[in-house]
Subunit: 346 residues, 3 copies
Amino acid sequence: MRLADIARLLDATVEGDPTLEIDDLQPLDEAGPRSLSFVSNQRYLALLKTTRAGAVILGPQAEGPGCAVLRVANPYMAFALALGLFDRPVDPPAGISPAAHVAATAHVGEGARIAPGVVIGEHVTIGARARLHPGVVIYPEATIGDDFLAHANAVVRERVRIGARVTLGPGVVLGGDGFGFLPLPGGGIFKLPQIGTVEVGDDVEIGANTTVDRATIGTTRLANGVKLDNLVMVAHGCRIGEETMLAGQSGLAGSTIIGKRVQFGGQVGAAGHLEIGDDVRVAAKSGIDNDVPPGRVIGGYPEMDIRLWRRIAAAVQKLPELLRRVRRLERALGTETPRAKAGEGD
Amino acid sequence: MRLADIARLLDATVEGDPTLEIDDLQPLDEAGPRSLSFVSNQRYLALLKTTRAGAVILGPQAEGPGCAVLRVANPYMAFALALGLFDRPVDPPAGISPAAHVAATAHVGEGARIAPGVVIGEHVTIGARARLHPGVVIYPEATIGDDFLAHANAVVRERVRIGARVTLGPGVVLGGDGFGFLPLPGGGIFKLPQIGTVEVGDDVEIGANTTVDRATIGTTRLANGVKLDNLVMVAHGCRIGEETMLAGQSGLAGSTIIGKRVQFGGQVGAAGHLEIGDDVRVAAKSGIDNDVPPGRVIGGYPEMDIRLWRRIAAAVQKLPELLRRVRRLERALGTETPRAKAGEGD
Amino acid sequence: MRLADIARLLDATVEGDPTLEIDDLQPLDEAGPRSLSFVSNQRYLALLKTTRAGAVILGPQAEGPGCAVLRVANPYMAFALALGLFDRPVDPPAGISPAAHVAATAHVGEGARIAPGVVIGEHVTIGARARLHPGVVIYPEATIGDDFLAHANAVVRERVRIGARVTLGPGVVLGGDGFGFLPLPGGGIFKLPQIGTVEVGDDVEIGANTTVDRATIGTTRLANGVKLDNLVMVAHGCRIGEETMLAGQSGLAGSTIIGKRVQFGGQVGAAGHLEIGDDVRVAAKSGIDNDVPPGRVIGGYPEMDIRLWRRIAAAVQKLPELLRRVRRLERALGTETPRAKAGEGD
């Protein structure tokens, strides 16, 4: 692809040879003379000086490295669009593989690509242009919209409802039983049948090996545009609002409700039966134990305002010294108590 | 189902029309005029006023919302029993699918339902009434009791022993290799062959994508009635006591022994080679670094008594202010040291 | 196997009957009269007195328990070697199962053992002696070296490159899409096509249900000898150095670079775009938010020197008492402020 053609698609100005042939899009330190590249993070700005890239995408002010430049107003957006130019997605072969198992009562829409080893249960409905990779299992009575993409070994349990343009990563599980057990007073544990389901909106994407449990009763809901990273856990009865994004290994306990456009860092946990408002942002590894009003930016466990949490994280490091300073004050004032002496080990 | 029939099965008194037809069991805010409903949490009590439910389950004292009421001594237990009335589990078709692969030397008991794509290895023994969903893989020489239920793509590695009435969620892995590696002084890493196994008792249930590793030598044990939530990690050589329940994304390092009826919140971690006594309860996200005597309720990292941990969580929020107060005291006393001045950044 | 034969292979001296027949290698408390055993941890030393083992491996100084002894210079290394003597790995049957699906354009090397239900895509190359258990899916254009072992339901996405002697646990996902989404100012979320790949070196082993995402552009790299435990998450564009080992449920955010011989405890998280030097060791549950120089031993969140972190963990427990002590000092000096009074709740 010629640089000039890329420039036209990205609404960019070419500085340098517009006839340069570009084969791929690579990071600065992996790029070659036929690569387009990009400064993905200010930390890597120094790599501009040493890159072997044929061309780089740069914003209005940035100084070029000597190679050709695609000058754009918004480099990150231009990069995002450029990715699409070099994307080579791999789909299962057209049609329904004879080695797939589709129940007679299932309905699969036109244009499907169903790989070997896929199993589709009784009374399942799937919309047009579905792409199901090997080992995907759709339990009976699930209903799924158009343009469904399910990667290898993803599982959709019975009666789960899925909207249009939904993507499941490999190993995703939608609709597993919620963790509902009732220890009995005389011993033994009663399993609460999990008779609810999961409903997934449009344009949802779910990462590898993430699990979303069905509700005990009613519905676990992922609204339109929700994005879940890998190894995320959504427990029974949760509701996640539009365009909310939860990063890797985050988890929600049962019945928690999350608003729209919320963003969790990785390894965040939220207790059950909480309400977390729209546009809340949560630092990685936080533990949320209380309702959170809309728009808050929080961190820590239990969660608190992110600025307070940062100050505390700094203050905590001075704690051993603070103990010594208080001890010194007590000596100066002669107020030491036997308990204080015994309690101070360092 | 008529409300009067449900009442008889739940040992409830009907207040209202006993001939009311009930189709399903729904949360207060999803219920319709032919739904039975239930106050699952005191947070949702206000929903009683607006619910469209045809009937609700209530305890002796609770005020009814205008619709019919099933009055019971223990509403949660009645709810748990009612779930079973509306449960419609989905099993694989009866028999062994011709698209399943069962080794000639394997023994599968009567009444099995084995789906397409299941693979059962040599010398496997499975009891009566097994239900194996698509993609389940049982490695050679595993032995499994009656009423085994394995959801899609669950994996049981070689020689694992499983009791009766065990349920594996989708994607569960039992008997994967323990993480046993020995870095050699001159470089290189020696893999310790993991020659032990996993033994799972009766009435155990394991959630989606949870992994339980085989022991290096000997046996990783899950006793009768153990319940593991999704994405839990049990390392090699752990032993988990009867009716212990570990919530989502919790993890145990190698050789840790957990007693009976222990309960972990989500995202708890326990170090290796620990002993955690019977009836211990652990707050979510705790990190257990020491043995824990029976009956303790703990939180934090390292773990401590839950009441101390709660007080500390509150006290930590006052830490930046505390630093200022100590500084003020030092000024008042004239005991400031250069080090104290340098150490205090805010 | 006679004890004398084992002794010769382990370079051990026999104390006791060299003709003793040994059937297996067991922990002290599971060993029988035909078992060899081993003190895996000093915590279990007392079990030596009660073990029923026929023989135990012991170091030069250790006192024997009455049964036969294999005396060695390095007991742990001898144990590691002994494991190999009793290992009985289970491989798929020789050859390519007629119930596997291998694309016509794929190349599978000699000596392969490909189980039923395996799917290998177009233009895949796999080296000699591959062992692929049921349900393994290799997407098109992946290239894999010799002696590949993939357990049931592991998934390798398109164009991933894998070296020699690599082992994937059950349910592993290599090359899933990175979590790359761009919320648009006017609403909606743009998915960044993930056009990069994953490259895995030689002698890498990855535990059950762990996920390694492909890079947005360029390559997510696991160098030679990397070992990942179960349920680990490696995000797009990370690079992990030689012989680094990450324990269970640890996670890396995007583009983080980790050096050689690094060791993470369980449930560690690292933020994105960091550099963590060679030989760094990280305590379980730590959260790494900054670059870490080589050789550091760290803990906490944000991470700090492990010794400081331990002192702080101890000091934190004295915080409620410290608040009282400062209050007492303020009273003695008459410097209480209304704010201090209001702020101190306990």
